[in-house]
C-alpha cells in the first residue's frame, strides 16, 4: 500500500499575479515500512510536498494516490485514505484547544466516527505511548503543561487516529537536547513497534542520519537526490551545499579528518563509529 506521487506539479495562486510554482513534476513512491527523511532549505518546496501526502493540497497537475486511490477524489474512500496519513505540523502544540488533555486527543478519533469505547481506548493508548500517565493527566488542562509535554499531547492527538503513515514537520524545533531525544525515541518506537511509515522533515541532519532509511533532498520544487542518507552525505557534499543544506556534524568531522590525511571511515554515523574507526587506524 504505497503512497505514489505521479508527476505532481503545484502552483500557488494560479491565475493571479502572485502565481508561483512550488513543485515541478515530482514522481515518487513511498513504500510501507520506510523511514524517510526530507531535507531542503526554507522555500525549497518540502512543506508544499508533504501537504500533498494527506490531501491538504491537491496537485495542479498530476496525482497523488494512496493504495491506488486518488486523494483528490470526492468519495468516502478517498477521505478514508487521507486519514491514513497523519500529519504533525511544526509547533503542533499550537493546535491544542480542548479543556482537558483526554478531550483534545479524542478530537481526531471522534471525527473518524468511532464508538465511545474505542475512542477512550485510543486516547489511553496514545497517552501511554507518549509517556503521559492517563490517571494523572487525562483531566488536566493541556495549557498548564511544559512546552515539551504540550508537544507530546499534540503528537498523541495524531497518533490516536492510528495512521499508517505519519508525516512530521520539524517535530523537535525549539526543544532542548533532552526534549528532542524524548520525542525521537517515541517516533522510533512508533516506527519499530507499530510499523508506522514515517516521513520526517527536519533541518537536523544528525537526527536524519541516525534514523532515516531513505533521504530525499528537495531543491527548487524538485527531488534533487534520493537514496541512503549516509551515501548522500558521503558522495554529494558539494551538491548539498549548493542546495543550501548541511551534512551532519559527524560526516563533517570524518570528511575533515580525511582531508588531513587520516583515513577515517566516512560511513560513520555515530560518535562511537568515529571512535572505533580512529582506534582501528591506530592499532594498525
Amino acid at each position: 500500500m504505497p503512497i505514489v506521487l505521479d508527476s505532481v506539479t503545484y502552483t500557488y495562486g494560479q491565475g493571479t499575479p502572485f502565481e508561483k510554482q512550488a513543485l515541478t513534476g515530482i514522481s515518487l513512491t513511498i513504500n510501507e515500512g520506510e523511514f524517510i527523511g526530507i531535507i531542503g532549505h526554507t522555500g525549497s518546496g518540502k512543506s508544499t510536498l508533504v501537504q500533498h501526502l494527506n490531501g491538504l493540497l491537491h496537485p495542479t497537475e498530476g496525482q497523488v494516490t494512496v493504495n491506488g486511490i486518488n486523494l483528490a477524489d470526492k468519495t468516502e474512500e478517498a477521505k478514508q485514505s487521507r486519514h491514513m496519513v497523519g500529519m504533525v505540523f511544526q509547533y503542533p502544540e499550537h493546535q491544542l484547544f480542548e479543556e482537558t488533555i483526554a478531550k483534545d486527543i479524542a478530537f481526531g478519533p471522534t471525527n473518524l466516527g468511532l464508538t465511545q469505547e474505542e475512542i477512550e481506548q485510543r486516547v489511553k493508548d496514545a497517552m501511554d505511548f507518549v509517556g503521559l500517565d492517563y490517571k494523572t493527566y487525562a483531566d488536566r488542562s493541556p495549557f498548564h503543561l511544559s512546552g515539551g509535554q504540550m508537544r507530546r499531547v499534540a503528537i498523541a492527538g495524531v497518533v490516536a487516529m492510528k495512521p499508517k503513515y505519519l508525516v512530521l514537520d520539524e517535530p523537535s524545533a525549539g526543544l532542548d537536547p533532552a526534549g528532542r531525544e524524548e520525542i525521537f525515541a517515541e517516533i522510533m518506537r512508533l516506527h519499530k513497534e507499530q510499523g508506522v511509515t514515517v516521513i520526517l522533515v527536519s533541518h537536523n541532519m544528525e537526527d536524519i542520519s541516525k534514523m532515516a532509511t531513505r533521504l530525499l533532498v528537495i531543491d527548487d520544487g524538485k527531488v534533487l537526490l534520493d537514496g541512503k542518507p549516509i551515501d548522500i552525505f558521503m558522495k554529494y557534499r558539494e551538491t548539498l551545499q549548493k542546495a543550501g543544506v548541511d551534512v551532519p556534524p559527524v560526516s563533517q568531522l570524518t570528511a575533515y579528518l580525511n582531508q588531513r590525511g587520516l583515513p577515517v571511515s566516512e560511513e560513520a554515523i555515530t560518535v562511537d563509529d568515529v571512535v572505533a574507526s580512529i582506534e582501528s587506524l591506530k592499532k594498525r
Partner: protein
C-alpha cells in the same frame, strides 16, 4: 487564498503621490469622496473620471494593483448596479415578465456604480502610496487637536500600526491551524450552520491563544526597546507640508469647486 488580500498594502514608489504628506492625502481623499456625491450629470462624471484617471496615472502604480483592489468587492459592485438597474421606475427600455430595465435605472445604476468604484479606487490609492506607518502618523497628527477632548490619538495610532503589522502573520497562522485540524479530521466546510459554527471552535481557540501569546511577547519586546507611550517620542520621518502639498491641495479644491459649480448649474 488568504495570501491574496492586498487591501491596505503599501506599494513602495517615488511618485508625487508617494511623496505627499499623509495628512494632505487623508484629507484630500475624504474631501474628494464627499465631492463625488455632488456630481450628478454625465458631464460632471466625465470630469470626475478624467481627474481620477489622471491621479492614478500620477501615482505610477501598476494598473493590476488597482484592479486587485476592486476584485474582492465585485459582488457589492454588481449588486449596486443590479439594484438600480432593476428596481428604478421610468421609461421602460426592455421588459421580460416582471423584470424591466428603465432608462433612468440604467443611468442611476451606472452613476452609482462609478461612484462606488471611484470611492474604492481613491481609498486604495491612499493606502498603496502611503506606508502604513505614515498613514497612522497622519491620522495621529490629524486627531491630535482632539486629544484635549479625550481622544487617545497616540494609542489609537499605535494600535493601528500593530494591527497592520500582525494581520498577515495571523492570516498565515489561521491557515496553518486550519490545516492542522483538517489533518485531524475536522471539517470546516460542510454541514448545517450550527455544525459549522461549532467546527470553528478548534480553529478559534488556538488562534486566540496564539494572539494573546504574541501580544504578551510584543509588549515585553516593546518595553525592552524603551517604549513608554507617546510622550517624549520623536519620529524618524517627520511630517512636513511642502509646496507639493500646497499645490496638490489647491488643485483638489479647484476640482471640488468645478464639481460644485457643475451641480449648481446642472451641467
Amino acid at each position: 487564498m488568504l495570501g491574496n488580500i492586498t487591501i491596505g498594502q503599501y506599494f513602495p514608489g517615488d511618485s508625487l503621490l508617494h511623496r505627499m504628506d499623509p495628512r494632505t492625502k487623508i484629507l484630500a481623499t475624504l474631501i474628494y469622496i464627499v465631492a463625488i456625491f455632488f456630481a450628478q450629470t454625465v458631464v460632471s462624471y466625465l470630469f470626475v473620471t478624467a481627474f481620477t484617471v489622471w491621479v492614478i496615472w500620477m501615482s505610477k502604480l501598476p494598473v493590476r494593483l488597482l484592479w486587485n483592489a476592486l476584485k474582492p468587492l465585485w459582488i457589492i459592485i454588481v449588486f449596486t448596479l443590479a439594484i438600480h438597474v432593476f428596481t428604478s421606475t421610468g421609461t421602460v427600455l426592455w421588459q421580460w415578465s416582471f423584470i424591466h430595465i428603465t432608462k433612468e435605472g440604467l443611468q442611476m445604476g451606472v452613476l452609482m456604480t462609478a461612484r462606488l468604484v471611484y470611492l474604492i479606487l481613491f481609498s486604495s490609492l491612499l493606502t498603496y502610496t502611503t506606508s502604513p506607518i505614515r498613514l497612522t502618523d497622519g491620522i495621529e497628527r490629524l486627531l491630535r487637536p482632539f486629544q484635549r477632548l479625550g481622544v487617545p490619538s497616540h494609542e489609537l495610532a499605535m494600535m493601528m500600526t500593530i494591527a497592520l503589522r500582525f494581520i498577515p502573520t495571523l492570516l498565515e497562522e489561521t491557515d496553518r491551524i486550519m490545516k492542522a485540524q483538517e489533518s485531524r479530521g475536522a471539517d470546516f466546510t460542510t454541514g448545517s450552520l450550527v455544525k459549522r459554527a461549532k467546527s470553528m471552535v478548534p480553529l478559534l481557540v488556538p488562534l486566540f491563544i496564539s494572539a494573546f501569546r504574541r501580544a504578551d511577547d510584543l509588549a515585553v519586546a516593546m518595553e525592552a526597546r524603551c517604549y513608554r507611550g507617546g510622550e517624549g517620542r520623536t519620529r524618524m520621518k517627520e511630517l512636513c507640508y511642502t509646496r507639493l502639498d500646497t499645490v496638490s491641495m489647491s488643485i483638489l479644491i479647484l476640482v471640488v469647486l468645478i464639481i460644485l459649480v457643475m451641480r449648481f448649474y446642472a451641467v
